[in-house]
């Protein structure tokens, strides 16, 4: 039998029962569309997060006080051994390398800030002028923290957009005196709200010089030190330099954790890739369900069409030919379903991309290929059983109905 005739015959029988065909088509289409949309979402989220990190600069080395070690006992288990504080002096020591571009110490805390009668609790970050560049922040107005000697605690502050609107409302904020804790700081700048930053809402923070923060919180302990290397190539050497310098300063004790932006980025990348795969896997289950539906409906079709199968046998069709005819129906359905699903899925992810412009919602190629392949294979696998059952029918009994 000619291939075109097989397709024509299958199409004709599909057209005869439009409701049945449409349902099977829909099942496959939903499965494929689910794979496309879900993986597109996962991929969009992955790109969003890695984009956020990349915007921080990929050649950052981050120093965190305390040792995180997955092997051996935690140092805290040994009596009296607490991690030494990471101090501004430590951070300053890290600037003494030609491989290091700049260093920004970060101290965090919270304090009540008031202006006039308005008062609220604000997150306070103590840092230096380098912070602006290291974190790629932008100013909406005024200037940033003054550059120069880190130990000089100027009583100036830079505030986020939301803090500005809540405390100053319509009044000009720059030049005003803001009370933070028991201190008064002059507002010199306002951060632009569009600055991206993982973990910190730039709209809602108050920046003061690190020396002022030391005094405000009455503690020398830094939260982080950000070290920007000259280039990505020297990252391992910078990491080594940071470790060695701090060990030396801490009496040979390695009590800090040094991570690189790259490592964090890679970790998130892996996490989101796994997330996307999981979403794709879940969607693939709906494809399998579609396959079972196809099988079910085809089995019903076979029992409804026994007379026709008997006739085909009486007209000289052998088992193989009847298998091919019925299989063609299942395969055609899953092909059209897959095509339809790709269309719906593409349209769906395009729409989501429109609604959430921050997300770059595009299904990865592997998901599109895998989804379509699974759909087609499903049609084959779940079509073969009903087709073989049809082929094995006894012609005499089939003709008798």
């Amino acid at each position: 039998m000619r291939a075109l005739d097989v397709i024509g015959f299958a199409l004709q029988s599909l057209r005869r029962s439009p409701a049945r065909s449409l349902l099977m088509l829909l099942a496959t289409a939903i499965g494929v569309a689910a794979v496309v949309v879900l993986t597109a979402l996962g991929e969009g989220a992955r790109r969003y997060v890695t984009g956020e990190f990349a915007s921080l600069g990929t050649n950052l080395v981050i120093v965190i006080p305390g040792r995180s070690e997955t092997t051996g006992a935690s140092p805290a288990l040994f009596a009296g051994e607490t991690p030494r504080d990471l101090t501004v002096a430590d951070a300053e020591a890290l600037t003494r390398s030609a491989l290091v571009n700049q260093v920004a110490p970060i101290m965090v805390g919270s304090a009540s800030a008031s202006f006039g009668s308005r008062l609220r609790e604000v997150p306070v970050i103590g840092s230096t002028a380098e912070m602006l560049e290291v974190r790629r922040w932008k100013l909406a107005a005024g200037s940033f923290l003054p550059a120069g000697d880190w130990s000089r605690g100027a009583t100036v502050c830079v505030i986020g957009e939301k803090i500005r609107s809540e405390l100053f409302a319509d009044e000009p904020a720059i030049g005003q005196w803001l009370r933070i804790g028991d201190w008064r700081f002059r507002v010199v700048g306002v951060l632009a709200s569009e600055g991206r930053s993982i973990g910190v809402d730039v709209q809602e923070l108050v920046l003061i010089p690190v020396a002022s923060a030391e005094a405000l919180f009455n503690s020398p302990a830094l939260f982080r030190v950000l070290v920007e290397a000259r280039s990505r190539e020297v990252m391992p050497r910078v990491t080594k330099f940071v470790r060695e310098t701090l060990r030396e300063r801490h009496q040979g004790e390695e009590d800090v954790t040094v991570i690189t932006q790259d490592a964090v980025l890679a970790t998130f990348d892996r996490i989101f890739q796994a997330l996307t795969m999981t979403l794709g896997g879940i969607a693939a289950i709906s494809l399998a369900v579609a396959g079972i539906l196809i099988m079910n409906v085809m089995l019903v079709a076979v029992s409804q069409r026994t007379a026709e199968i008997g006739l085909l046998k009486a007209l000289g069709a052998d088992q193989r030919r009847i298998t091919v005819l019925f299989l063609a129906e299942a395969v055609l359905l899953s092909w059209f379903g897959a095509l339809f699903g790709l269309l719906v899925g593409g349209l769906g992810s395009w729409t989501i991309g429109r609604v959430y412009p921050a997300l770059d919602v595009v299904a990865p190629l592997w998901a599109v290929v895998a989804g379509t392949t699974v759909a087609i294979v499903t049609g084959l696998v779940f079509g073969i059983m009903p087709a073989r059952r049809a082929a094995r029918l006894d012609p005499i009994r089939a003709l008798a109905g």
Binding site: M1, R2, D5, F9, Q12, S13, R15, R16, A307, E308, G310, L311, L312, K313, A314, L315, G316, A317, D318, Q319, R320, R321, P395, I396, L399
Partner: protein, 227 residues
């Protein structure tokens, strides 16, 4: 040429073994016109199915054109009905979703004949049964007699040597039945071997050779005009 040699066919029905055919010997020459009569359950249809290779005998030898059919493989055997032997059924067995033209075309489709050749042959077959103007009609738009004539056109489209008709007039009124018989006899006069199973004595008596079956055996084999 058909040679049956000691053909038996047993069915297992529950505990009981039903002997549908018992040691049937039969020789049918090319171009013969046979009628096969007998009460229900006498084995007429079973014999017809075995002749058309839709069923296989439990015992015995069946030579079709000198070839032992038991030596054919599944594919060759499946091709005998349709190619060498055509079937006409009491209930027509037209595919309801296909037009008259497409129903006749079906065997050609299955055999992989090219579309151009198919159209020509189907047109000729339609003309032969006098239904050229019904080509685009579906079975439910045709009368019983017309449906059976379409079925005959379909059964003969592969130019088989033998046509087996199982109660071809059973579902028809006498006028339509007469039409159908005339079409069948025309084919026979062109050299087609014709075997008609029937309950209708008037139909059966028209055949040149009349067989009568009872309980799976051929009890009478008479040429017309002789006792």
């Amino acid at each position: 040429m058909i040679e049956l040699d000691g053909i038996s066919r047993f069915f297992q029905v529950g505990e009981e073994e039903v002997h549908a055919l018992e040691s049937v010997d039969l020789l049918i020459r090319d171009g013969e016109y046979l009628s096969l009569m007998g009460p229900s359950g006498s084995g007429k249809s079973t014999l017809l199915n075995i002749l058309g290779l839709l069923d296989r005998p439990t015992d015995g030898r069946y030579l079709l054109d000198g070839r032992d059919t038991t030596t054919l493989d599944e594919r060759e055997q499946a091709q005998v009905p349709g190619q060498k032997v055509g079937f006409v059924f009491q209930s027509f067995h037209l595919v309801p979703r296909l037009t008259a033209f497409e129903n006749i075309e079906l065997p050609l489709l299955l055999a992989g004949v090219a579309p151009a050749a198919r159209n020509e042959r189907v047109d000729r077959a339609l003309a032969a049964v006098g239904l050229e103007d019904r080509a685009r009609h579906r079975p439910d738009q045709l009368s019983g007699g017309q449906r059976q004539r379409i079925a005959i056109a379909r059964a003969t489209i592969m130019r088989p040597a033998v046509l087996l008709a199982d109660e071809p007039t059973g579902n028809l009124d006498s006028a339509s039945g007469a039409d159908v018989i005339r079409v069948l006899e025309n084919l026979n006069s062109e050299g087609l071997t014709l075997v008609v199973v029937t309950h209708d004595m008037d139909v059966g008596r028209r055949a040149a050779r009349q067989l009568r079956m009872v309980d799976g055996r051929i009890v009478a084999d008479a040429l017309a005009g002789r006792p």
